[in-house]
């Protein structure tokens, strides 16, 4: 069971939290025309990362606040917790943010997993 540090309440068991999936997925501007493909990419394409992942959590049974987390999906180690409206500030967090395919190009048919030590 994960031990997650809520920015407002401190360390709590993960039973109090709700997982919100990958962070930093920008919602397309509704005023622009958007192809079905582009929209589906926003809607359905998620990285299945082995290694460092930026993700969202909500302290459902506590303060009800959403926040972002940098987690290693192999070891479940949590390396950074930061506000949901901001970008990560740690070195690994920044690298993970930049490495995400959304920052560069759409995912290939078989997305390459990011191996992180």
């Amino acid at each position: 069971m994960l031990h997650i540090e809520c920015p407002w309440c401190g360390f709590r068991d993960d039973a109090e939290f709700h997982y919100g999936g990958e962070a930093h997925i920008t919602r397309p501007d509704p005023s622009t025309t958007l192809t079905d493909e582009k929209f589906s990419e926003y809607l359905f394409s998620k990285t299945n990362t082995k290694g460092l992942l930026l993700e969202r959590w909500c302290h459902r049974s506590g303060c009800r606040r959403w926040f972002n987390v940098l987690r290693n999906t192999i070891t479940n180690e949590i390396l950074e917790v930061y506000p949901v409206t901001e970008k990560p500030s740690s070195k690994q967090g920044k690298e993970t943010y930049e490495r995400n395919w959304r920052r560069k190009s759409p995912p290939k048919k078989t997305p390459k997993t990011d191996e992180v030590k």
Binding site: M1, L2, H3, P30, D36, L43, V84
Partner: protein, 999 residues
């Protein structure tokens, strides 16, 4: 009663003044307090305790503690019974009842034993291969396989015992209270660290309880252990947990411990806790789990009476019982000599020591010689005889490369065989923690290497065999763990240790067998899963060369013991077959739990009424008194219907539904989700989360809204009311209240943090009575004088505040039935009083309380949807025929873009329609599949399913709603609902039955 023939006069630490009687397979035996079931059975000479899994071979005790692979026992009676318990881990008590498993009709005469003779028919991968046989054959085999595969029997009734959970935090958790663990606890505790030390045995000490030839600070190991335990017991920050198995090691140093409380629970009639599941968060874990002795791999190495050498030593020294009067020792190392010497000291006649080593040379070897124990050097046991117990062993000389046998066969009579094939560190928890292991050539086993969490391994777990080093590692680990968790450390003095020095081990694996034309002699690798040497060889021939494949194909290591005694032997054999280093073969990852755990322990007290909180409304006491039938809606208990005396459900619901349309019905609607929304951007926010327009909703009015997920699918619906400027009252479905609030918060916080909107759940704050029917205005008028209730002054979808029956109330003129209806909200504490007043005054209007079932029928008569019934997460508003609620002009709302996706605008999507059975008495079962054409048997192509179906008294016939492909284009068409014994024809209609179906 048997007389404990194998009990030793002097050895052991049992309470001999406390004799206990217990029953095994119907026979009464005697043991002493402190015995385990295994030691007490051994004291009575009972070796045969079970039948093997696949071949039904007679099996006896193999080891002590959690290591036991054979002696799986059913303990207890009735619904308290627990299967697959290791006899070596059951503490006996007066009146204990236990029985053997996997035998039929009796343990000594078992029909499944023919499997042993037909062994060639059950090769490795048998179950997989069986699946590939013709399917109709499988049906026949399944019966036998299922019968044969069952180990114990699960109780059929409810578990009468109680289980608990305990949450704890500590600086240092020490797993294993052997020499290393105790030393670590001693060192860590002196620093003021909070320490938990757990051991799966009833007595702390581990191997200290087994050895009589070692001294620590000139004390016997047992005395040293007693001193340490006494010291630890006196420390307030040390929690000692005997009878506690650390079963799981999860991320972030979170571990689960299963504590078995005192054993008399089995016969107790008072509710006592049977197991306690500890969930512990630890700063620093120390694994002192010790080592597990390895069996030797030779023909017929599974007969009852063949046991691990160290286990026998422990039975003698700790329990005062010898597994045999004429034991034979078979070893590849020095440690087994200690067993021989211990036996001799207790006047047991050691037949011989058979040592595969060619030149053993150590103090232990010389002592054995001095005591005139015959030692066959360079020899091996090549087979054994005996059915319910070993009778003899055949030995032969090994060639120098260990691959062949030479010379004469010698038969040695014996009633017990102690085998020792080396030692494996118990690395299960380390592996669970994510730690990596490496091969160690000297020990010929895997030992811990890189850790990924805050964990230290010491003593046997670390591959350290000798006592002095183990103690030293323990002390050091205790200090550094305390330091790492922030406590000041003072290293204690290292104790002086006397112990026998041991020389090298010679690994001969497998022991060669002599070809026998008549009987194929089985060489067992995994006792619990009956995996033999030839299974491993066959798997390899068939190409299963990866360790993960080997494991699954042969099932080696997949029993309840997770291969504690078998894994390393299997790996070494595979590496030999593949001609590579064991390191290259690799090691499978262990998963929790370390030992089988009763499901009840995971459930704890969260069963029955405590499984999930039950929410009731303020009006609930009235429903109960009125004899309502209830249904669960999420966590809520809602009144389902109110049957009168001798009334069926159908009669009650019909009566309630009719009353709501002819006079007045009253419904407890308190469970609806309610969210108070305030803030200057509240209207803008509603405009974005609902599909329709919200910016111009004037205060005092309500609007129905539909919420979609971003994929365009309907998520929830409800009515939201503008209380006053920048203040709204939102209602959600009963089940969706929590998730809708969370969803709204998510959008507010993550997408639109600039919007000033504040959400508060007020579901519990308001009690709601909904009155419905043509006379509801008259009734309300009597109780409410400060609001003009006329249609003109208070129109449909209006909202007013005033006083009802003297209570300040919020009144919503909204309707889920199509009738004139008022939903009266009052503070929860006034709910019951409002309800009673409405009923009292309503008597003259023949007011009738109705439950959720009538509510469902009433809304279905008008074709109103219920989210979660007409929708299932794949239904859009367009599919529901609710295009009218989707704004064409709003620039954005959640789900807007998705509604124009190619897949969403396809014409052949399932659409909501009405369905009327051609025969006006047929009620279609909800969930039934719908077809265009009925074929003699499935498969038939299905075009949809029934979502709601009721008898409608107001329509005078059954009505149903359904989602059907291109349903709206099929109006008037006939479709069919194939059921088990008949098919029902039905016609597709509009969903507004009340206005379209003539009575």
């Amino acid at each position: 009663m048997s007389s404990q023939r194998f009990r030793l006069r002097e050895a052991g630490r049992l309470d001999r003044n406390a004799p206990l009687k217990f029953k095994f397979d119907g026979k009464i035996y005697e043991g002493f307090r402190g015995d385990t079931l295994a030691s007490a059975l051994l004291a009575n000479g009972v070796h045969l305790v079970g039948r093997s899994f696949k071949y039904h071979r007679p099996r006896g005790h193999l080891g002590v503690g959690a290591v036991e692979a054979n002696a799986l026992i059913q303990v207890g009676e009735g619904n308290s019974t627990e299967p697959n318990i290791r006899a070596s881990q059951v503490e006996i008590y007066d009146g204990l009842v236990a029985s053997s498993q996997n035998r039929w009709p009796s343990l000594l005469f078992d029909l499944g034993g023919v499997n042993d003779l037909l062994g060639g028919l059950i090769p490795a991968g048998f179950y997989y291969k069986t699946f590939m046989w013709p399917r109709k054959w499988w049906m026949k085999y399944e019966y036998f396989i299922r019968r044969a595969a069952g180990l114990g029997k699960a109780p059929t009734g409810r578990d009468p015992d109680r289980y608990e959970k305990m949450h704890a935090h500590c600086d240092v958790l020490i797993v294993g209270a052997g020499p290393a663990g105790l030393a670590a606890a001693l060192a860590a505790s002196k620093t003021g660290a909070r320490v938990i030390i757990a051991d799966d045995q009833q007595t702390f000490g581990g191997s200290l309880n087994r050895e009589t030839d070692c001294y620590i600070n000139d004390k016997t190991t047992v005395d040293w252990c007693k001193d340490v335990v006494a010291t630890l017991e006196g420390l307030p920050d040390v929690t000692m947990l005997p009878n506690t198995t650390v079963s799981g090691y999860y991320e972030q140093n979170y571990l689960t411990l299963l504590e078995t409380t005192k054993p008399h629970f089995f016969k107790s009639t008072i509710q006592q806790t049977r197991h306690r599941l500890w969930k512990v968060r630890v700063k620093q874990v120390i694994l002192a789990t010790g080592m597990i002795e390895r069996p030797l791999v030779f023909a017929n190495n599974d007969r009852p009476g063949i046991m691990l050498s160290s286990a026998i030593r422990e039975y003698i020294n700790k329990y005062g019982v010898t597994p045999g009067q004429n034991p034979l020792i078979f070893t590849n190392n020095d440690d087994a000599y200690r067993t021989a010497l211990t036996m001799r000291q207790n006047n047991i006649n050691v037949v011989a020591i058979v040592d595969v080593r060619e030149n053993p040379d150590s103090e232990l070897f010389r002592q054995a010689k001095e005591m005139q124990i015959p030692v066959h050097v360079g020899f091996a046991v090549v087979t054994t005889r005996g059915y319910s117990r070993i009778k003899s062993a055949t030995i032969m000389k090994l060639s120098s490369n260990g691959k062949t046998l030479t010379g004469e066969r010698k038969v040695l009579g014996c009633d017990c065989l102690a085998m020792s094939g080396g030692w494996n560190p118990a690395i299960h928890l380390f592996s669970q923690s994510g730690g990596k292991v490496k091969w160690n050539d000297e020990l010929a086993t895997f030992i811990p290497s890189e850790a990924t969490q805050n964990v230290l391994t010491i003593g046997g777990c670390n591959g350290t065999a000798d006592l002095a080093k183990s103690l030293k590692e323990g002390l050091q680990a205790g200090i550094s763990a305390a330091r790492l968790s922030g406590n000041k450390a003072h290293p204690p003095a290292t104790p002086s240790v006397q112990e026998p020095v041991q020389s090298e081990t010679r690994f001969v694996l497998p022991i060669p067998t002599q070809k026998n034309k008549f009987v194929s002699e089985k060489v067992f690798i995994d006792f619990q899963n009956d995996v033999t040497l030839s299974d491993i060889q066959l798997a390899s021939r068939e190409g299963y060369n990866s360790v993960e494949h080997l494991k699954r194909y042969t099932t080696v290591g997949m029993g309840t013991d997770q291969g504690k005694t078998s894994n390393v032997n299997a790996l070494m054999l595979l590496s030999q077959i593949l001609d590579c280093e064991p390191e290259q073969v690799g090691y499978t990852t262990f998963r929790p739990p370390y030992a089988p755990t009763t499901i009840g322990a995971y459930a704890g007290r969260n069963i029955g009424n405590l499984f999930s909180p039950v929410r009731t409304t303020a009006i609930n006491p009235w429903h109960e008194e009125a004899g309502a039938k209830f249904e669960h809606v999420g966590q809520w208990m809602r009144a389902w219907y109110y049957p009168k005396v001798n009334e069926t459900m159908r009669q009650a619901v019909d009566r309630e539904v009719t009353a709501a349309r002819t006079n007045i019905g009253i419904l407890d609607a308190s469970t609806l989700g309610k969210i108070d929304i305030q803030g200057p951007d509240a209207a803008e926010f509603l405009n974005r989360v609902y599909t329709n327009a919200w910016l111009k909703l004037p205060p005092g009015t309500s609007r129905y809204g539909l919420m979609l997920k971003e994929d365009g699918m309907v998520m929830d619906d409800g009515v939201t009311t503008c209380i006053k400027e920048n203040h709204y009252h939102m209602t959600t479905t009963t089940g969706g209240a929590a998730s809708v609030l969370e969803w709204l918060e998510e959008w507010l916080q993550t997408e639109w943090p600039n919007l000033k909107v504040y959400l508060t759940s007020v579901t519990e704050q308001w009690a709601v009575a909904a009155i419905c029917g043509p006379k509801s205005r008259e009734l309300l008028q009597e109780l409410c004088t400060d609001i003009d209730l006329s249609d003109k002054a208070f129109p449909f979808m209006g909202y007013r505040e005033g006083t009802v029956a003297g209570i300040k109330a919020r009144i919503f003129r909204i309707s889920f039935t199509g009738e004139l209806s008022f939903e009266i909200n009052v503070p929860r504490s006034y709910g019951l009083s409002l309800w009673e007043k409405l009923l009292d005054v309503g008597k003259k209007y023949e007011i009738c309380p109705y439950g959720t079932e009538a509510m469902h029928v009433l809304r279905a008569e008008k074709g109103f949807i219920i989210v979660g019934q007409e929708t299932d997460g794949t239904v859009t508003p367009v599919d529901l025929g609710m295009d009218w609620i989707i704004s064409k002009t709003k620039p954005d709302f959640i789900g807007k873009r998705a509604l124009s996706r190619r897949d969403i605008i396809k014409a052949d999507r399932k659409q909501l329609v009405g369905l009327l059975a051609d025969n006006a008495t047929d009620i279609l079962p909800e969930g039934s599949q719908i077809v265009e054409e009925v074929l003699p048997k499935p498969p038939m192509s299905m075009i949809g399913h029934v979502t709601s179906s009721y008898f409608s008294p107001n329509c005078g016939r059954p009505i149903a709603m359904a989602l059907i492909k291109s349903g709206r284009d099929r109006m008037g068409q006939t479709v069919y609902i194939p059921l088990k014994n008949k098919s029902i024809a039905a016609t597709i209609t509009n969903v507004n039955f009340l206005d379209n179906v003539s009575k």
